[in-house]
């Protein structure tokens, strides 16, 4: 599949690299003991350190270090035994210290890679580095006519900046990369990946060039907060750059913002003088040294990663690749599936989960974590179908009620008298009664009007209010009518 953009003067190749800011899952901040919980009252989750009060000093949270290492290991990356925290100096009202503590020349994680799947095959995206840094606070510009308001709750929350190599060739590939990365982070438990709440943000560096030619000048599109916007922004930006170049213009290296309403990128006011960050090692901190044991301990506790789990689903359970892809988009789905498949037909389990349960969840607008039906309950329903207690037809009704009420399948089946009649003798008696009652129709059937079988089935089902096992009814009817 070609990812080239065709312009009026020929084809152009899009070159994209991502800088992903992933909020580290931790209770407290990177350098202070204030909470990281989302959505609290303004400035209520701020320590004196986060507020940049005079004389306050940072002390690093070791869980954040562990999370960065875990992420690095998940990306097969080199973990740096010694890394250094630097200060990135700039002024902004929501940056209380006047600098951000980050890692510049010596990040905690070095090179790794991420495999992504596109419709026409796999790509391997290089990961250049991951470093730990502090988030800034939040400025609100539209609450007061003359002032901007500052909330420092986010100030000091740990972020991992994950930087990819410029290995992506389209908006779609960038979207797949971010999606795959988000899934990985969720499996690792190092970031919740919630883009609405801002725990995952993405900047994209975009340039275009003649296929295989020299790299073009890039523009950075900042703060993309959904995968869809990422793709749209890159697609728009690539075409914009092609148009500029084909009109004989030049691309100016700059920072651009994506306007989601208009679906276009626009230049941020350029403040070139503000771009001297004067990085230097933070003298309040010492180099971070990791022991082999520390790293090995984390490696040993690494969960099964999405790619491995997907492959295992295909081989162990014999389900389709597309279905397996879906099942590993989130660790909760994969766990749900495995619980459901335990002791049951895995294909049936996958089908119930992906079709029925996700159908209902999507209609109700609920995530799996809020599902009224858990794996045990849904499994109970599947079991009742499998052992013939209820028919496949009633199962759908039972599921609907189960989704509404959260009740167990048995309870619903009993309350609604849906238990299937599978007693051969009882059905035979019913069949005999029906045949006796409709002697004329039996004669017609026997003279060749075999379509009447349906009529007899209908009569038997009617007598049993639909609970007779239709297969048995059919079997016995044929047997009797043949006789």
């Amino acid at each position: 599949m070609s990812t080239l953009v065709s312009g009026s003067t020929g084809d152009w190749e899009v070159v994209v690299g991502l800088e992903v800011h992933a909020q580290v899952r931790s209770e407290s901040k990177l350098f202070s003991g204030a909470s990281t919980r989302f959505g609290a009252e303004p400035n209520s989750q701020v320590s004196l350190v986060d507020a940049g009060m005079p004389g306050m000093l940072p002390v690093i949270n070791r869980e954040c270090v562990r999370q960065a290492v875990r992420t690095g290991l998940g990306l097969g990356a080199k973990i740096n035994r010694v890394s250094v925290f630097d200060r990135k100096n700039y002024f902004y009202p929501d940056l209380p210290q006047g600098y951000q503590i980050s890692q510049y020349t010596r990040p905690i994680v070095g090179e790794g890679s991420l495999r992504i799947t596109m419709p026409d095959g796999e790509r391997v995206v290089g990961i250049e580095r991951i470093h730990l840094e502090q988030d800034a606070g939040k400025s609100m510009h539209d609450q007061d006519p003359s002032r901007s308001l500052i909330d420092l709750n986010r100030s000091g929350v740990a972020l991992m900046e994950i930087v990819s190599r410029p290995d992506l060739r389209s908006g779609a590939e960038a979207a797949a990369c971010l999606r795959t990365l988000r899934t990985l982070l969720r499996f690792l438990g190092t970031c919740d990946g919630n883009m609405q709440e801002g725990s995952l943000r993405c900047d994209a560096n975009v340039s275009v060039r003649r296929p295989g030619g020299e790299l073009g000048t890039r523009c950075e599109i900042k703060n993309l907060n959904s995968i869809r916007f990422l793709q749209q922004a890159i697609e728009y930006e690539a075409i914009r750059q092609v148009e500029v170049l084909e009109d004989g213009g030049k691309i100016i290296q700059e920072t651009r913002l994506f306007d989601a309403d208009r679906g276009e990128t626009r230049s941020m006011r350029s403040k070139e003088d503000a771009h001297d960050y004067r990085y230097f090692p933070d003298p309040d901190l010492l180099p971070l040294e990791l022991s082999e044991d520390f790293i090995a301990g984390i490696a040993a506790s690494l969960p099964e990663l999405p790619e491995t789990r997907r492959n295992r689903f295909v081989s162990q359970y014999g389900i389709g690749e597309a279905e397996a892809d879906f099942l590993v988009t989130e660790p909760e789905i994969a766990d749900f599936f495995e619980a459901l498949a335990d002791g049951r037909d895995p294909k049936l389990a996958a089908n119930w989960l992906t079709t029925e349960l996700f159908g209902a969840l999507n209609r109700a607008g609920l995530p799996l974590s809020k599902s009224p039906v858990d794996a045990g309950t849904l499994g109970g329903l599947i079991d009742l179908v499998a052992d013939g207690t209820i028919s496949g037809r009633s199962a759908k009704d039972v599921f609907s009620e189960m989704f509404e009420t959260g009740q167990a399948a048995e309870t619903i089946v009993d309350a609604r008298g849906l238990r299937q009649l599978s007693d051969g003798a009882a059905i035979a008696a019913l069949v005999d009664a029906v045949l006796a009652e409709h002697g004329d129709k039996v004669a017609e059937y026997r003279s060749g009007k075999v379509k009447l079988l349906g009529f007899f089935v209908g009569q038997v089902m009617k007598q049993t209010r639909g609970t007779a096992n239709p297969q048995l009814v059919n079997e016995i009817l044929r047997e009797r009518l043949a006789g």
Binding site: S26, E27, S28, S32, G33, A34, S35, E41, P42, N43, S44, Q45, V46, S47, L48, V49, D50, A51, M53, V59, I60, N61, R62, E63, C64, V65, F91, P93, S139, M140, H141, Q143, D144, S146, R147, S148, L149, I150, D151, L152, M268, R269, D273, A274, D276, R278, P281, P283, L285, L286, P287, L288, E289
Partner: protein, 95 residues
């Protein structure tokens, strides 16, 4: 290295310190004097020396991940020159 007036002006801008022309002029002279004096460092051969950023000799200590701080917006806001409710207020940021 010597600093011209424009460089000092840029440096002051980077440091967000407003200097009137008199003060700027004085700083140009003084900073040049100081930098010229500092330049004697160039006499030292440091080609085989690693920079020393910390003298303590111990490794970076770490803390446990628990919430031990915050929950006191008033302590954070009490010295604020301007505030609106629970927020710090600053002149409007022009984007």
């Amino acid at each position: 290295m010597s600093l011209d007036r424009e460089t000092v002006r840029q440096t002051a801008l980077l440091a967000r310190i407003r200097l009137d022309e008199d003060r700027l002029e004085r700083m140009v002279g003084e900073l040049n004097g100081i930098l010229a004096w500092i330049d004697q460092l160039n006499e030292v051969d440091t080609s085989s020396v690693a920079p020393l950023a910390s003298v303590t000799g111990h490794a970076l200590p770490t803390r446990a991940d628990s919430v031990t701080d915050g929950n006191d917006a008033e302590a954070v806001l009490t010295n604020a020159p301007d505030r609106v409710g629970g927020y710090f207020a600053v002149p409007k940021v022009v984007e």
